[in-house]
């Protein structure tokens, strides 16, 4: 703690405002200058305990040959060096090939889900921007999926996607949309579509909520001025709404990206521990590599690699969007 105390002589120079009260007892100064740090201690300790230390443990685990033989006492696990990383990035081996496959599936899933969630959320927010009868009801309705507990909601979807007894196939048949055999949704090629539908259903209300809130903050005069200038609906959307929503969008897209990329609950509840290859998201894949096949070192290495990837993407994203905003 002592190191955080500012040296005495520097204080008056740094804070000229206090010079007006020279009669104050001297010892008040130093206490004030480290009290904030003192108050930060609980947060720092918690941050260390909850985030930093587990993360470092994860990195350490990724350097060990940590299987069921050593899981009880890590200290006995042999040091593997970068072996787990070599296996992770050896895309010619079965393990690496499948990891790469699930990475691309996840990228596709994230792009599609975030993109569509944004489009749906945006459309609904624009539609509900002007007051009309029943607007509150629609708003509530749109937010329902967001309010439901994840497990209940996704389990309901698994029932609906069952081939023989599911509602989805019954509706499809009712409308004569399919000829021949009923399609499968939870296995095979369609499983990706099923996963995307559930993900979209879950995350677009969040986009809607954020965008709606963002739009509330756009001053009405801007639209009036634009209207006077003869701007139509699309023009106003492009030149008023979109620029004003930029800060909201920046956060919204980042949050959706991180949530969707790391989404574990949706695929896990939808498919159970072993997802079909077509919908093998990376979070499930890593879970399987570490918990189901009991290779915790390899699982940790994959997690660290994923974390680094997300960190790079996030940093680049923030740099690019911030610069664009400054230029705008």
């Amino acid at each position: 703690m002592a190191t955080t105390t500012a040296p005495g002589p520097v204080r008056p120079a740094g804070r000229p405002a206090e010079n007006g009260a020279p009669k104050q007892p001297k010892r008040r100064g130093p206490r004030r200058s480290y009290l904030p740090y003192l108050l930060l201690v609980p947060a720092i300790v918690l941050e260390l305990g909850i985030h930093v230390i587990p993360m470092l443990v994860g990195v350490w685990m990724s350097l060990l040959e940590l299987t069921q033989f050593h899981i009880r006492d890590w200290s006995t696990a042999p040091f593997a060096g970068l072996e787990n990383y070599r296996v992770t990035f050896d895309f010619s081996s079965a393990t690496g090939k499948d990891l790469l496959h699930s990475f691309w599936v996840t990228v596709l899933y994230t792009v599609a889900s975030v993109g569509l969630s944004w489009v749906f959320g945006m459309a609904a927010a624009v539609f509900l921007q002007r007051p009309f009868r029943g607007r509150a009801l629609l708003r509530t309705l749109f937010l329902t999926p967001y309010a439901l507990p994840v497990y209940t909601a996704v389990i309901t979807w698994t029932f609906m996607f069952q081939r023989d007894t599911g509602l989805v196939n019954q509706v499809i048949e009712q409308f004569g949309l399919v000829s021949g055999d009923r399609p499968f949704w939870l296995i095979g090629d369609n499983s990706f579509v099923a996963l995307l539908v559930v993900s979209l259903w879950r995350s677009w209300p969040f986009a809607f909520l954020c965008l709606m809130a963002g739009m509330q903050n756009i001053p009405g005069e801007l639209y009036e001025a634009a209207a006077i200038d003869g701007a139509g609906f699309w023009r106003r959307l492009r030149d008023v709404t979109m620029p004003m929503l930029r800060p909201v969008n920046q956060v919204l897209l980042l949050v959706l990206f991180l949530w969707t990329f790391n989404d574990f609950n949706t695929p896990y509840v939808l498919f159970g521990g072993s997802a079909p290859k077509q919908a093998d998201l990376i979070s499930i894949h890593i879970y399987e590599s570490s918990f189901v096949t009991w290779n915790f070192g390899l699982g940790s290495a994959m997690s660290v690699a994923l974390l680094l990837f997300l960190l790079v993407v996030t940093t680049v994203y923030l740099l690019v969007t911030n610069r664009r905003r400054e230029h705008a």
């Binding site: 003192l38 201690v41 069921q68 033989f69 006492d73 499948d98 499968f184 296995i187 521990g273 290779n295």
Partner: protein
């Protein structure tokens, strides 16, 4: 730094330390000689059913010994993870149920008390237990990591009325007959056979049995995986072909992982089912016990070279004690109680499983046709799954590969021998990494 400041810092540190320490008070193995914590696997139709079944027995134990047992019934889907967490953290229950196929895997963690001769003597002696069941309690050559509690085996269940309607007089004894019979039964919304084709464990169990019959082994004598041998490929293909080629299995079964195949059989949507002690489950789903018959799982008509006369795994549930228990004597007392003749009869009769101790097997409760067939299979033609530390990986990887093959078959794609070999090869490669 003045004293007051020091006190402030200390207070802040203490607060945060106690806050963070709250996180890991999950365990409950206090050094109290009068209580035990027990995780029971879900054996009955529901967790509630299990609680009701176990409660009077645990009360009885408390009366006899003064030791109170706090039981938690854990669903199968959570059990392995929970056990692993307990093994890792050194906190958790004193006594647990484990699926017997996991015995060697959990043994390898070193978290379970070995049942050496002395420990076995404390629970009644090695000779009390059914040998096949005890063989599925740990790696060969090591003292068992658990003792068997409930024993199960696979059998072929069939719908008597569907059989007589189709003019079939006897249950099939060979896979060729299964196909012939299955084709006669498959019409409209009715299918010959129901399979739990999206359940990796279930798939892996059949991979083992079929593999034995086709002369294959999943691990060599050194414990190395040998998944893609021609024998194993032929065995797995034979199983998948029941859907892919013979078409006696509803393609919808490719997404079954929550015992829907049992429901299909009980609801007369399928004429045959391969399952472990399913009778009580059929009854719970409203099927009259007269409606179904039972026969041993079939064999190939002309056994391939090296094929063994094995038609079931030694299925069952074992009971193990964690090393971290602070009441080992009480825990052993409890294991002895649960494997006593009287308790074995009561519990196995309720669950429809078989006793894992020899004297209880003679009880009248286990002379019904179902238990007789299961008992004969266990006694003569069942073998334990490979008792190697990587067993749980084998179940997941091979079982999942088969799930994918079934998904292909259900989607109308041809499943070739080369594809089976490739999928098994990939599973094997993953074992090495």
């Amino acid at each position: 730094m003045s004293k007051r400041h020091l006190a402030l810092v200390a207070a802040a540190l203490l607060t945060t330390a106690s806050l963070t320490a709250c996180g890991d008070s999950g365990g409950s193995s206090e050094g109290d000689a009068k209580t035990l914590t027990y995780w029971a696997s879900n054996q009955g139709a529901s967790i509630e059913f299990d609680n009701q079944t176990l409660k009077p027995e645990l009360d009885k134990f408390e009366q006899q010994t003064g030791i109170k047992v706090n039981v938690e019934v854990v669903p199968w889907s959570d059990l392995l993870n929970r056990l692993l967490a307990a093994a890792t953290s050194g906190k958790g229950p004193d006594v647990v149920n484990i699926g017997n196929t996991w015995s060697a895997s959990l043994q390898a963690t070193g978290a379970l008390i070995p049942f050496d001769d002395e420990t076995l003597a404390a629970v009644g002696g090695k000779d009390r237990f059914v040998p096949a069941a005890l063989a599925a309690a740990g790696a060969p050559g090591k003292p068992p990591a658990a003792v068997p509690l409930y024993s199960l085996a696979y059998a072929l269940y069939y719908n008597k009325k569907m059989f007589s309607d189709a003019g079939i007089t006897a249950p099939p004894a060979t896979w060729e007959e299964v196909v012939t019979v299955g084709k006669k039964l498959t019409k409209g919304n009715q299918w010959g056979l129901a399979l739990e084709a999206a359940n990796p464990s279930e798939n892996a169990h059949h991979a083992f049995t079929f593999g034995q019959q086709w002369g294959g082994e999943w691990f060599d004598s050194a414990g190395k995986p040998t998944f893609d041998t021609p024998q194993n490929v032929a065995a797995v293909k034979r199983y998948i072909d029941l859907m892919a080629v013979d078409k006696i299995v509803n393609p919808s079964n490719a997404e079954y992982a929550q015992n829907q195949s049992v429901a299909d059989f009980a609801n007369r949507k399928a004429g045959m089912l391969l399952w472990q002690a399913a009778g009580s489950n059929f009854k719970a789903q409203g099927m009259n016990p007269d409606e179904w018959g039972i026969a041993p799982v079939p064999f190939p008509a002309t056994p391939p070279a090296g094929g063994k006369r094995i038609n079931s795994m030694v299925a069952g549930i074992n009971m193990a004690i964690f090393k971290h228990t602070e009441n080992k004597d009480g825990a052993l007392e409890f294991v002895k109680f649960m494997t006593s003749d009287a308790e074995q009869v009561i519990l196995n009769r309720t669950y429809g499983s078989l006793p894992s101790v020899k004297p209880a097997g003679a009880d009248a409760a286990f002379q019904a046709p179902e238990q007789k067939v299961l008992g004969e299979v266990l006694g003569s033609t069942a073998a334990p799954l490979p008792q190697v530390a990587e067993e749980s990986q084998f179940e997941t990887l091979v079982g999942t590969a088969m799930k994918e093959l079934f998904a292909d078959a259900a989607g109308g794609k041809a499943v070739t021998e080369a594809q089976v070999k490739e999928k098994l090869g990939v599973a094997q490669q993953k074992m090495g990494s």
